[in-house]
Symmetry: C2
Subunit: 573 residues, 2 copies
Amino acid sequence: MLLKRYLPILTWLPHYNARLFGADLLAGLIVTIMVIPQSLAYAILAGLPAVVGLYASILPLLAYTLFGTSRTLAVGPVAILALMTGAALSPIAAPGSELYLQAALVLALLSGVILVLMGLFRLGFFANFLSHPVISGFLSASAILITASQLGNLLGVSASGHTLIELVPSLITSLDKIHLVTLAIGAGSLMLLVVMRRWGRMTLGRLGLNDGLAGLIAKTGPVFAVVITTLISWGFDLETLGVAVVGDIPKGLPPLTLPAFDASLWHQLLIPALLLSVVGFVESVSMGQMLAAKRRQRISPNQELVGLGASNLVAAFSGGMPVTGGLSRTVINFDAGAQTPAAGSIAACGVALITLLMTPLLYHLPIAVLGAVITVSILTLVDIRMLRLAWGYSRSDFAAMAVTILLTLLEGVEAGIVAGVSLSIALFLYRTSRPHSAVVGLMAGSEHFRSVTRHEVETLSHVAFLRIDESLYFANARYLEDTLYNLIANRPELEHVVLICSAVNLIDASALESLYAINARLKDSKVTLHLAEVKGPVMDRLKHSDFLDTLTGRVFLSTYAAWKELRPRPDQP
Amino acid sequence: MLLKRYLPILTWLPHYNARLFGADLLAGLIVTIMVIPQSLAYAILAGLPAVVGLYASILPLLAYTLFGTSRTLAVGPVAILALMTGAALSPIAAPGSELYLQAALVLALLSGVILVLMGLFRLGFFANFLSHPVISGFLSASAILITASQLGNLLGVSASGHTLIELVPSLITSLDKIHLVTLAIGAGSLMLLVVMRRWGRMTLGRLGLNDGLAGLIAKTGPVFAVVITTLISWGFDLETLGVAVVGDIPKGLPPLTLPAFDASLWHQLLIPALLLSVVGFVESVSMGQMLAAKRRQRISPNQELVGLGASNLVAAFSGGMPVTGGLSRTVINFDAGAQTPAAGSIAACGVALITLLMTPLLYHLPIAVLGAVITVSILTLVDIRMLRLAWGYSRSDFAAMAVTILLTLLEGVEAGIVAGVSLSIALFLYRTSRPHSAVVGLMAGSEHFRSVTRHEVETLSHVAFLRIDESLYFANARYLEDTLYNLIANRPELEHVVLICSAVNLIDASALESLYAINARLKDSKVTLHLAEVKGPVMDRLKHSDFLDTLTGRVFLSTYAAWKELRPRPDQP
């Protein structure tokens, strides 16, 4: 069982058969063709040689086949991680330098170690700390950054930088150097890609293809763009006209690489590796869950961490770069009918064959075409809907999203994601730190208690019934004290306070301390403190302290029971 | 009104009279005598010249008189901030150097700016993010660190460092150099202080003094220790025997100092200043609130930030060091009967007079005595009770406390407080990220619903009633989805799911997205989603989105209403 948990391949391999292999083979071949332009493009986006993208699409896929739980996830270099990799490495070394390559391997290694450790310690829940608006804002802003960074490639000018503040001036000052042939190639591929994406499926459908196949072919636009433009570039020898082309890609299988053990380099890359791991995991696991749900399968987030971690470790030792489950390659894998992770292994073999034999064919591929491929695929991540939803629904969610977007654009990906996460946690704590509370009274003719400000209710002058609508914990412990002290300061005739805990799901040690303090202070003021409707788990916990012994009043099962007990008796004055 | 809010002196000065002045004068004079040894001691603890402690006890007190809201808080250098100041400055410069002095001023300035800004932006609630166990653990560990750092002074050897890892070896290697006369003076004062603190009040009471006065005199032990040992030191000329003494303290009023504007220095000190500000604020405001409550007064945490900020700004411009409300000096001020912040101004004048005229009298005061003063006052902060309470009550609170203590001792004050805060927030989010939820059923003969696993209840096979005991927000949005998908996967006969929201105090945008997704997925599975017992504020918020329009089912006011509506009718099959 333990073996099956950590090696999910054991759950499906014994049942593997020819039918499944047939489906996986088809999907694997389609993915192979698709990922070649993407892999080259993302390596260049990260400031690495194009071949690194191919290496990262071979052995990491085999590792995921062994350790991953999603049946359809396709692992490899992805745009966001490429952007984050470039941002993490550029302060350390110049793109293209030996140190830069080394640092990319270290980043993949650290990311792999972090992911595997998080998986083994079952820390997958950490991904939940990224709220939807923050993820959405981060992805949208990253997409804009990536597009801006590709504008240089599309225009044939050199634009560098990892924030809009760096990119925009760099683009503007080089507008006079636009290379028209490059622009023509870039704009042409962009148009081809947009047209195929938008109208390809419909047109092919009209031509008599079945809808699934038409959809799949429409998605392979990048392959057509690459083939056509490479042929044009070769035929007209565009390189001599000054069009930047991919150039020599070393032929052969991935090399065995050993990431440098350099303490100061590791130290510098630790935080970027952590951020990269979490972002990659979130991107991968949300997609994996969505697709698994469509087929009523399940994935295990903690084992996914192990699978992605193993992929990154393997990438570090085979000349690669940080990888995760890629959006577009996974969708294609799914649509092409992949049934098991074996499809990934087949794609890995395909990429290996191409790397081994066919890289010279890519020599004339213009970089501008790769820029167009990235741009068209990344712009789908810009999510205006979430921005609108957050604005209409919750200003604090909107604030977290807006800060994430602005900081990502202006300060870079790391600042953006850190600020977004910190802000959403801080805003949540702030909201829960001033819980809604209501003094309630009895609805006539019922056993229900409602707020005295919203309803016509019966009250008792010497008893206050206070309902707290939040778990009691450190962030609101002091607020609770304030609320109660204000209550007794304003109603000197009070003899009893009943704290209604129906919405209290947790009382932590800070809040317990506050309850002790409240109990003591109320006692000084000759007011008895009672609790009502304390939930089972909360009550169990309170019994671990001596609070219930020191409590001046009682714990009532229901508010009505407290009412019956504390109301003046007919025979009393 | 606005002027009164930001200048609280306007609320009490118009009503000031001779009776109040009499009380304040007495308290001010007693505090003056008390703070002299403390101020010297804390400056030396921070690695600064002794006179800096005196300067920091003059003008900052006047600033607090203008801007502070507590009637009895006494501002000045305190042990914890002195420790944090030393830890922040020692990586930057050698203690005693000109740069070190400059950096202390910059630290006070930054701290002042941060506190004032937090006050103006009403960010006082940030202090709530420090949970009681973390504060308590931090104070205990700091007290141990301070005691360890004073052992060197008490033994007459030089021990340096800001963590136990640095201090302990440094002490052990110099054990053979113990200076016996210093040890005798140190141990003697330690005993005097402990005896006066423990038995002074009782003994003086027996001698016929009234209890209040006896208590006050017992607290002035440090003054006696200083006077007696200074006389001995002077009489026997201990300095020539090798006992470290305070030495020359420049006579005169505080100088006007201008903190250096050095961008890199400011940058290095920004985070330490932030931590120091928050810790100082928490220490000061908790004490201020406790004492205000004793006299049924109130303080305003946000205005306290302004008051403490102003004090630190003034300290930066008058040769001082970071200050905040001090525990022992405030208690003495309170016990001596201070009625208004004017008592602080009187103490400031007293300290100014002493600095102006009487510093030569302090020449022979042995440093060991100051070490004894610090040790006795700081060890009261070690709080074993909270450690025990946290252990018994909540393992996650205990974990946060233990990590804070260990990291403070071994890695230093900054690492300790940052780790403690992060861990308590992370643990809280973790706990709320896997909310308790229960499938419930109807208790026979009632309208109450209880968990099917804990009670004998009626259920409907085609309807699941699920109660979620937590607010729905980003950290548990995905968990909610998992819970619901598992529920429908395990019960294929389900037609309706009723989500009971009685304990849901908040639904944020992430959770709303999850509700959309759940609604859509349940629809695909031909299951209708209903809500029940949605609270008013949550409902108001939901109406800001179109979720209620897309919801496949209804929103029921009570779970029982849903039961009545969804149970099979007698006339149905």
